[in-house]
Symmetry: C2
């Protein structure tokens, strides 16, 4: 190797390859190919890409009501007057909202916990948006809460905990049907499975 070069790449290119290689599922080879793209594309397209990243961090926030991704005080679901505000679907993360919205099968509102209970990792109820959920159930005209945590050990612990508290508030508590195979994530379940899971949601017995 030449003495004055640690890398055969010019510094700007090397830096962009490193940035791409940090992304999930991107190996070194893919990172190089993706960075090379910016050598060939025109300046406008490159800047559009850079601005898209900047704007994402600038514009995206949490919905004040349900903690879904939002670009205003309320997210697109909460601010839609056509949605049924008597049903709340409780999910772990905003990506779960997106997966359920893609089915087009749900017309109620959401509540995003921003995580799941994980006692062994020290994630307690007060670390999630659980107090906010209980407040909504008490103050709003909620008739049913659908627990749509992931069908994993921690998701189940979270759902069981929420169900025990919510039933005391006199609200109907349901869970997504276990058409989902245990261990998978809602985000990757696919539309048909999610449709079935919504249709077959079951009463949580005391």
């Amino acid at each position: 190797m030449p003495e004055d070069l640690n890398s055969p790449y010019p510094p700007s290119l090397s830096k962009l390859i490193d940035a791409f290689a940090k992304l999930p599922g991107v190996g070194r080879r893919s990172a190089e190919r993706q960075a090379y793209y910016f050598l060939k594309c025109n300046k406008e397209e490159a800047m559009d890409f850079a601005f898209a990243i900047r704007d994402l961090k600038k514009n995206l926030r949490s919905c004040q009501q349900c903690f879904n991704l939002a670009e205003a005080k309320l997210c697109a679901v909460c601010s839609n007057p056509a949605r049924d505000n008597s049903i709340l679907c409780v999910v772990e993360m905003p990506r779960d909202v997106i997966a359920i919205e893609k089915t087009g099968a749900y017309r109620g509102l959401y509540h995003v916990l921003l995580g799941r209970l994980a006692p062994t990792d020290g994630v307690e109820p007060e670390d999630l948006k659980i107090a906010e959920l209980f407040k909504r159930v008490k103050q709003e005209e909620v008739k049913e809460v659908i627990l749509a945590t992931n069908p994993t050990a921690e998701g189940d612990i979270t759902a069981t905990y929420l169900a025990s508290k919510l039933r005391l508030m006199g609200v109907r508590v349901t869970r997504l049907a276990r058409g989902l195979s245990t261990g998978t994530e809602i985000e990757f379940a696919g539309q048909a499975n999610l449709n079935n899971a919504l249709d077959n949601r079951t009463e949580v017995e005391g």
Copy 2:
């Protein structure tokens, strides 16, 4: 689907997913995963990524001497006094320079054509940096020109054309040994193959 939403994503996220999906080898699913990464990472890291793209377009230019990628008037190879300026390695694209530099087996300079002859697509000698190559060979102390165009039909046409002209200038003309399997690209040949191809480069007979 809700009436007021074409996509379940907030606009900023949707835009970034679209941007990633345009990159080579990135499908819709990967684009979503890569864009999600920017929801989780901190603002500083996201801006570093955006700046890396901006800086690439701002800082990178063509080396005035060899047309390799450069961040100054001359690229890192041309500006390195330890390189042997009596040998020129002629390649199609800057990525070929990077592949050969990675072997660490070559100590001469480069000349990047920025393409290859493709008569059927209308790419003629005047569309490439061929006049600039001949000028260097005439003006500088070049003793050998290694033709390292890709081992494809168009790469071969380009090498044959260059060899016929260069021999008239009294310079030694060689080609990379065909250890490379026909139809592959230098960029993906691998270090061992490129080392062999450099070691076994052969004289071009008249």
